[in-house]
Amino acid sequence: MDQGVAVTNISTEVRSGRGARQVNTLPLLLPAVILLLLWSILPLLRTIFYSFENYNLMTPPAVFNGGLNYRYLFTDISTWVAIKNSVVLVLGVLAASIVFGTLIALLLNNDFPGRNIARLLAIAPFFVMSPVAALIWKNLLLDPVSGLFGWFMTLLGLHPIAWFSTAPMLSVVIIYSWRWIPFATLILLTALQSLDTDQLEAARMDGAKGLARLRYIVLPHLLRPISIVIMLESIFLLSAFAVIYTTTNGGPGDATTTLTYLIFIKALNDFSIGSASAAGVFAIVLANVLAMFLIRAVSRNLQA
């Protein structure tokens, strides 16, 4: 008898539970949605709005000027230079962090005394703030007079190089690589540690040694984490700013002016909010197209 009562109780509860699920959930979601709108959509809409105005902080007021900002943007040669610079920066740092990240991860995955300390040191650059890293590189390492590299070169009887004037983009790529190789190392090292030891032993039985083992067993296993590194680093590197600002200021000329830095110049050097907004909108479209391809590639890898 008792059991029968309990059963009917449960069934009514289930029914009322189902009823509760039909309650309108919109009021519950609304606070979060409103916050999100205020936080990200409104600024975006505002940027799009400004991009159609001739809005210079020095010569107010702002006047609607149709698509003129966009026409200037696409006819200006510096826009295309900036895009090229952005691409060089992203691809350069990605190449460095994947190649060196993989090599360092493979090294650190071996057992040797002091491995934990070595791992910590290898990861450490990632925790240094960008401006600090940039200043260290600029003043202590790459400086032709007081820098370590210059000192080495004089020791070898060579002339020190003024890195930021002779190879400005390379210098920026080196500094960003120094910061992002540890990130790739960290992700690839964890991936290496999750490689099934039985698989490695099976490969040993199958006669795959050294490079063959790396090529047929280890690298295929790393394909997935590598695609994740590519995606995450691309997102961060497209908006890279601090190191350029601290070291080269986008120069010499426009040699290190990336799209991000170009927007900064337009907005805060030229005070032209209108054309900066137009470049910003263009950058958003560009980043989204890139993200679409990347995410598609990564998700294909994740499924495999």
């Binding site: 099934d196 039985d198 099976a202 040993r204 039985m205 199958d206 795959a208 047929y216 296993h221």
Partner: protein, 365 residues
């Protein structure tokens, strides 16, 4: 085509002596099963034969050639791992042909060999799939196929069936034995499951704490366990082991007064044991019967009806449990007082050191 000989083979880790000197000779085409409880060293021994673990003492030879220091891929032995260890990014065909690819065998030859092995294992339709898209049984076959393709001198199996469901396990058991006959190669098979050992092996090697307890055919081990460990390990349900004192003996019989029970007689040819010796009598559940006025008494604690047989768990006055295999008509209920008698000609006698006192020749019919 491989005769494997182990002579005083040892494995020492820094703080642990895993394999304590094993002598074993495995004949060509033989199906040998290493069995033992977990931690007994059976997998370590297999991995030493494979070359995945160093041999720290003794000699190991394949076909008369010392193999201690030959790298694993040059020993001509193929291993099937418990987890299968398939390469997830390769198709079934690539998985199976990988060893040949590493050995720089021409592409056409690899393809032909893979196709041959795939046909043998009914994998022809899934050759282009990745391991992820296969069922557990198919993955198992791919792992075996990967070994077959190499045309090895011997196969090493490390608990290969433990990840399969019960029905598939029984099926794969017979298929592996057939494969052994078909390929005519030596096979070593590691398991903790004594039923797998009994059903598949030509010879069973019982390992315990890094030493060999007994080597023999399944029925030898079942009928003539060399010591108490083998007696307790082989056979299901376990052999009943009761202690007692020898009261009399002649050339054909030994009479033992069991503790907390009456006298039982163990038959055997000239068993060397003096009256007064403390011994252990081993009686299998299937060789013990419920009888009225039997020498061993107790209370039926639990009765399991399996249909073809009934297992009666009897609690003895000293608290020990004894198992009797009865038929379903026995009519015993929980709580009934029962008495039992062992079959004297199937009982085994163990001396105070735990070694069997009785070594009858057992003839297979």
């Amino acid at each position: 085509m491989a005769k494997l000989i182990l002579q005083n083979v040892e494995k020492r880790y820094e703080t642990f002596h895993a394999i304590k000197g094993i002598d074993l000779s495995i004949d060509d085409r033989e199906f040998v099963v290493f069995v033992g409880p977990s931690g007994c060293g059976k997998t370590t021994l297999l991995r030493m034969i494979a070359g995945l673990e160093d041999i720290t003492g003794g000699d190991f030879s394949i076909d008369g050639v010392r193999a201690n220091d030959i790298p694993p891929d040059k020993r001509g032995l193929a291993m099937v791992f418990q987890t299968y260890a398939l390469y997830p990014h390769m198709t079934v065909a690539e998985n199976m042909g990988f060893a040949l690819k590493m050995a720089k065998v021409p592409r056409d030859e690899i393809k032909a060999k893979v196709a041959h092995a795939a046909a043998m294992l009914q994998l022809d339709k899934v050759l282009d799939r990745r391991p992820k898209a296969l069922s557990g049984g198919q993955r198992q076959r791919v792992a075996i196929g990967r070994a077959i393709v190499r045309n090895p001198k011997g196969f090493l199996f490390d608990e290969p069936l433990s990840n399969l469901d019960a029905a598939l396990r029984v099926q794969m058991r017979t298929e592996l034995v057939k494969l052994n006959k078909q390929l005519q190669t030596t096979m070593i098979y590691v398991t903790h499951d004594q039923i797998e050992a009994m059903t598949m092996a030509d010879r069973i090697v019982v390992l315990h704490a890094g030493i060999v307890e007994q080597v023999g055919s399944p029925l030898e081990l079942y009928n003539n366990p060399a010591n108490l460990f083998v007696a307790g390990f082989i056979g299901s349900p376990k052999m009943n082991l009761l202690e007692g004192v020898v009261t009399a003996r002649d050339d054909q019989h030994v009479e033992v007064k069991l503790d907390d029970a009456g006298n039982v007689i163990v038959m055997g040819d000239r068993i060397a044991v003096a009256p007064g010796t403390r011994v252990t009598v081993g009686m299998r559940p299937e060789h013990t019967a419920l009888v009225s006025d039997g020498p061993i008494g107790g209370v039926a604690d639990f009765v399991e009806h399996l249909g073809n047989e009934t297992l009666v768990y009897v609690k003895r006055p000293d608290g020990q449990q004894m198992i009797v295999k009865a038929d379903d008509l026995a009519g015993v209920r929980m709580g009934d007082a029962v008495t039992m008698a062992p079959k004297g000609d199937r009982s085994v006698l163990f001396g105070p050191d735990g070694k069997a006192l009785l070594r009858r020749e057992f003839h297979l019919h």
